[in-house]
């Protein structure tokens, strides 16, 4: 019973977050990064995390998809905890770093679950468009970013197909114990990786065939217009930055 809960895959349901303008989503992402990098305020990070969970709730993507992702990263959390403890950080600082990590993962997941691949490409390209002044090949840059993002869900889907086929022909995964499963994954990984890279290449060709010229600026995609909710969410992000600016004492 395959599901779409792989990081980077689009979850096609109707929701207010799905209807947001992709350019505004990426502008919000850039605004979100500022307090994430700079601020060390526990209160601000708790508020941001609460805000992210409100957006998650509005996205109509099942909460367990987001939580499963955190569960999948449980070993990384343990490693982070150990490294923070070894550096002698206070409990509050350690907590802030863990919340930062969680917020970033969940925020990215929210964007990927609610933005289709073509909107993603369009959003990245338009958000980076100020760099056109420096004559950057933005089409190629956004194509590469989307290919990297699409790589993981494609890898998981391909892996699943390979495991099913291999299981049907004697290399069982679904009825095996954990050691046998690891063995199956190792034996099938080479083929999975090859097939995923082939698919990425095909997707890239397909988007070029659909007039996505990586050497030229792209024609406009008819997408969700900027609405009240876009402006409201952006305003909340600006409030977070303002809070950070007050925290560091610039104002």
């Amino acid at each position: 019973m395959q599901s779409n809960k792989y990081f980077g895959s689009f979850y096609p349901v109707e929701s207010s977050i799905h209807k947001l303008n992709p350019i505004m989503k990426f502008i919000c992402l850039f605004l979100f990064i500022i307090p994430m990098i700079g601020s060390m305020s526990l209160k601000l990070h708790i508020v941001i995390l609460f805000f992210i969970f409100m957006l998650i709730y509005s996205s109509n993507v099942p909460l367990k998809f987001y939580l499963d992702m955190l569960y999948g990263l449980r070993y990384i959390y343990i490693i982070i905890l150990f490294s923070l403890a070894s550096k002698g950080l206070s409990l509050e600082e350690a907590l802030v770093i863990l919340i930062k990590f969680t917020s970033i993962i969940e925020y990215l997941a929210l964007i990927f679950y609610t933005t289709s691949p073509s909107e993603l490409k369009y959003g990245i390209e338009k958000t980076l468009s100020p760099f056109n002044l420096f004559n950057f090949n933005l089409g190629k840059v956004s194509n590469t970013i989307v290919s990297i993002i699409r790589f993981f869900p494609l890898l998981f889907t391909t892996e699943y197909n390979v495991l099913k086929s291999a299981s049907e022909r004697g290399l069982d995964y679904f009825h095996s114990d954990i050691i046998a499963r690891i063995n199956v994954l190792i034996s099938s990984f080479k083929n999975t990786l090859r097939l995923t890279l082939e698919k990425i290449k095909k997707e890239s060709f397909a988007s070029e065939l659909r007039m996505y010229k990586i050497t030229k600026f792209r024609t406009n995609l008819r997408t969700n217009p900027i609405g009240f909710l876009d402006l409201l969410i952006t305003a909340v992000h600006i409030v977070f930055i303002a809070s950070y600016v007050i925290e560091v004492g610039i104002i």
């Binding site: 019973m1 367990k64 022909r169 004697g170």
Partner: protein, 280 residues
């Protein structure tokens, strides 16, 4: 190897907005040595039958008995014995083929089932011949093959380990009429000479009419009708469930409406003979 579905319900993406029920309280029996066809459109649920028989997917409710094995959601011991007895050829060969070369693809099953390992090359060649390809294909890359060739390789990769049950999922999609005829002959050969149980999951009623002995019609995950091939003589029934009546049946029905007495047959040559006799 008899197969039976007992009140099987199968769902996907349970507990999410994308939840989809493929089968609802589905029960049916597939007898050993017969050619059984499951007919239905793309949302009828026929596409999950292969994976359930092969214990790749598990039922949400109910059980599937495959010989001495039972798929009820629990782990199956010696699952490879079951899989060796059931060969499943998928609709899209790209979902099945994952090795680099044809040789690698064909010998994969032999390697992991540890079946006739000393005769790998001979069996690869024989399997290719059975699907109408030559041994020149052995060293070709899977990527360089056309869709039809890939379909044939997918079928050969199953036939090579000699399963008792062969499941063919939409075998006629993207296949020319000449290749369809070859496939019909192969299915009949598998049944008559090698005593195989063949299960065909399709919406191609023309193909099903030519080869099937038993027919099950599914609609929105529910079994709506079961019987012999004669079931497909009922145009209204097929149309009700989104299926097209076979061309040969349409022709005979039309003739009968014009008071020309033709009996139902699935052989076009027999039909021509009968038309000729009537004309006389």
């Amino acid at each position: 190897m008899d197969i039976s579905f007992n009140n099987v319900t199968y769902k996907e993406n349970i507990g999410t907005p994308l939840e989809l029920t493929h089968l609802k309280n589905f029960s049916c029996k597939i007898n050993s040595g017969e050619i059984t066809t499951f007919l239905g459109d793309s949302l009828s649920g026929i596409k999950v039958i292969g994976n359930l028989i092969n214990a790749i997917d598990f039922p949400y409710i109910g059980t599937i008995k495959i010989g001495k094995f039972q798929n009820d959601g629990k782990k199956i011991k010696n699952v490879n014995t079951l899989r060796m007895n059931v060969g499943h050829v998928k609709k899209n060969p790209n979902d099945m083929l994952f090795n680099k070369t044809v040789r690698g693809e064909l010998s994969f099953g032999l390697t992991y089932f540890k079946y006739k390992l000393n005769k790998k090359d001979i069996r690869c060649t024989e399997a290719l011949k059975l699907v109408g390809l030559t041994e020149d294909y052995l060293d070709r890359k899977i990527n360089s093959l056309s869709l039809t060739e890939k379909k044939k390789i997918a079928l050969a990769s199953i036939l090579i380990f000699n399963p008792k049950v062969i499941i063919l999922e939409e075998p006629t999609i993207g296949v020319s009429s000449k290749e369809k005829e070859e496939l019909k002959k192969l299915i009949k050969l598998l049944k008559e000479k090698y005593k195989k149980t063949v299960i065909i999951l399709t919406k191609d009623t023309d193909f099903a009419y030519a080869v099937a002995e038993k027919v099950h019609i599914l609609y929105k995950g529910t079994l709506v009708s079961s019987g012999t091939r004669d079931l497909m003589n009922d145009e209204t029934l097929l149309n009700t469930y989104g299926l097209k009546a076979p061309e040969i049946v349409k022709f005979i029905s039309l003739a009968q409406k014009k008071n020309i007495n033709l009996s139902y047959t699935n052989n076009i040559l027999d039909l021509i003979k009968e038309v000729y006799r009537n004309a006389k």
